[in-house]
Amino acid sequence: MWEYTDKVKKYFTEPVNVGEIDNPDGVGEVGSLACGDALKLTFKMGEDGRIADAKFQTFGCASAIASSSVLTELIKGKTLEEAAKLTNKDIADFLGGLPKEKMHCSVMGEEALRAAIADFRGEKVQEHDEGEVVCQCFGVTDKEIERVAKANDLHTVEEITNYTKAGGGCESCHEDIQQILDRIWAEEGAKPKIEVKPPTQRKLTNIQKMKLIEETLEREVRPALKADGGDIELIDIDGDKVLVSLRGTCSSCAASQATLSQFVQTKLREFVTEDLVVEEVKP
């Protein structure tokens, strides 16, 4: 038995916006009979540039029907730009969550929406994202796996199967999916934004340390100071000593010493290494 929320049950038993719009402005069709679920989304634009009406037809399980119905509710009244920002998470969240094995139902909603918008814009409508088909059973491409993995922070083959169905058939593509995951998360890992590793036991080279300090100031410190009308500049790094200079309101702020020691140093120690000492130098 699936643990569905009351909202899923409600939108399954009493779905809204069922049907097909005559002369629609955009049509998105995804899935197939073979796959076990399919969704046809049609919408009509209003004079005000907003989606005036949206309808759906779905072949699938309760969560697929509920996800489709919610999709139509969510996009009505939105501009195309706003609608294009909608993701599977918005659908799942609106429903109060979906069982993890059923997340692909919300992804199907997102894909139908993307297809319908592409159709409206006269772009070449493609059944799947461009790219190479990885899962032959369900026709899922590497691009799609990559997109859904990044959007939903997925790290295992099982999660990919839950969200895209890829790997849910003959399972012979599991290794390929794992390779895609290894690759994208290695690439992401190289980027600073998820470089949140405990600094303690790590021996950094000078170059690494300098880079990390720069990145941390950029990401963690400057936005906070800027919010208060201030700024910070990295002057030099001498061993574990980080020399910085304050700008704007910070430079004349009586609390600047406190700002430095408590805030900047804490951040640098958290993200770079615990041995750092921050010192202010006058410009």
């Binding site: 069709e29 076990g36 058939g169």
Partner: protein
């Protein structure tokens, strides 16, 4: 859950008969002795275990000494195949079918990964085996042939007695998973060449947690669970006395009810099936002749099984589906796929499995409420209007030419 429950899922599990519960109760209470003990207190309990064995032997047409009590059907299946392989180490080939229960199928798939050669026999569009293929598959080095007596999803009955003869002729052990057949079909093992047979208590109105493995006298055997000398050294572990007493009582009831199962239950099943088939774009999965009297697998095309089940469940009706969304994987059941059931139908398959406890009222209730459920879902389905408009219905109802998998 105050509404009434209409239970049409007896191939999944069955209601424990009140008589069975009553028979078991003393063994949770005052009669707690260990049947292996030397004292009278335990010895009296042992007598009840032996009485249960005798009742089950009676139902199967076997000698009580040929029965081993186990924990479930799966244990019986695993034990049987393991025993045949261990006692014939020179033979490394196994024959089974593509439509077995996972208790056999997954065990055999594991064997294939561990260096055994396994032949998985295909079935036709009606879920039947080709006897010529069966015969050709059995070789000199075949250790065991394992074919289910009746399929749990479609109810299709296989000619296991004939297959057992073919296996015997080539010196292979024959095992059958008869979990769905026992209690529903008359069985007389003495008249057959079947070497081993597995059954499960909870499919015949005994509780979950007890099974039986029949091992024909003279069949080489190696225990799967090793330890104490229980079950004459063939299955270690202290006997699960209350459940063994329960399955004995259930066997006694099954023997008494068999006739009823074959008349009343069959009539209700047929009424249900005919009523469902009166709806548009529906079809039965599996051979309607060679079939269990209680089982009916019907496909409602262009709708998805889980949605149907949820609609039924809201009305208190319990059934199951071979659709992807309910199978635990993302593909429709391996049985329907092996049969080549088209996707239009496989995803919308519903299995109803009846028991002696079902009534005519219940069947009428289902027949009254099923059409609105299907119509509502078809109105939502993008394929239904299209299929109707383009006249694909008739074509889709025709089984496509069966392609050798």
């Amino acid at each position: 859950m105050s509404q009434r429950v209409i239970y049409l899922d007896n191939n999944a599990t069955s209601q424990v008969a009140p008589e069975v519960v009553a028979a078991m109760l003393p063994f949770f209470g005052e009669k707690y002795g260990n049947p292996s003990s030397m004292h009278t207190f335990g010895g009296l309990v042992a007598q009840h275990v032996e009485q249960a064995r005798a009742k089950m032997a009676e139902l199967l047409g076997a000698d009580p000494g040929e029965l081993i009590f186990t924990s479930c059907g799966t244990e019986s299946d695993n034990t049987a195949i393991h025993a045949a392989l261990m006692s014939h180490p020179d033979k490394r080939h196994v024959v089974t079918t593509r439509v077995e229960h996972p208790a056999v199928l997954n065990f055999c798939q594991d064997l294939a990964r561990r260096g055994y050669e396994v032949t998985f026999l295909p079935v036709d569009r009606q879920g039947r085996l080709d006897m010529e293929k069966v015969e050709n598959a059995i070789r000199e080095d075949t250790a065991i042939v394992s074919v289910m007596w009746a399929n749990n999803e479609t109810g299709v009955v296989f000619p296991v007695e004939e297959i057992a003869r073919l296996a015997k002729a080539k010196g292979a052990v024959f095992h059958t998973d008869a979990v769905q057949a026992v209690g529903k079909l008359p069985i007389n093992l003495k008249d057959t060449a079947i070497d081993m047979l597995s059954l499960s208590g909870h499919k015949l109105h005994a509780p979950k947690g007890v099974g039986v493995l029949y091992v024909r006298k003279g069949t080489r055997f190696v225990p799967y669970i090793k330890g104490g000398h229980q079950e004459h050294g063939r299955r270690a572990g202290t006997e699960n006395v209350p459940y063994i007493v329960g399955i004995g009582k259930a066997a006694e009831l099954a023997a008494a009810n068999m006739q009823e199962e074959n008349s009343k239950v069959r009539r209700l099943r047929d009424k249900l099936e005919d009523g469902l088939l009166a709806m548009e774009a529906t079809m039965v999965n599996g051979d309607r002749e060679q079939r269990l009297p209680n089982t009916c697998s019907v496909s409602f095309e262009y709708v998805e099984g889980e949605s149907i089940l949820l609609g039924l469940s809201d009305l208190g009706v319990c059934a199951s589906s071979g659709s992807a969304c309910t199978s635990g994987s993302l593909e429709p059941s391996h049985v329907l796929r092996a049969m080549g059931v088209p996707f239009t139908a496989a995803h919308g398959s519903i299995r109803f499995s009846l028991s002696v406890y079902n009534t005519e009222d219940e069947i009428d209730f289902v027949l009254e409420h099923m059409p609105p459920i299907i119509e509502r879902l078809r109105a939502i389905s993008p394929f239904w209007a299209k299929a109707k408009k383009e006249g694909l219905l008739a074509a889709a109802c025709q089984p496509p030419g069966y392609v050798e998998p």
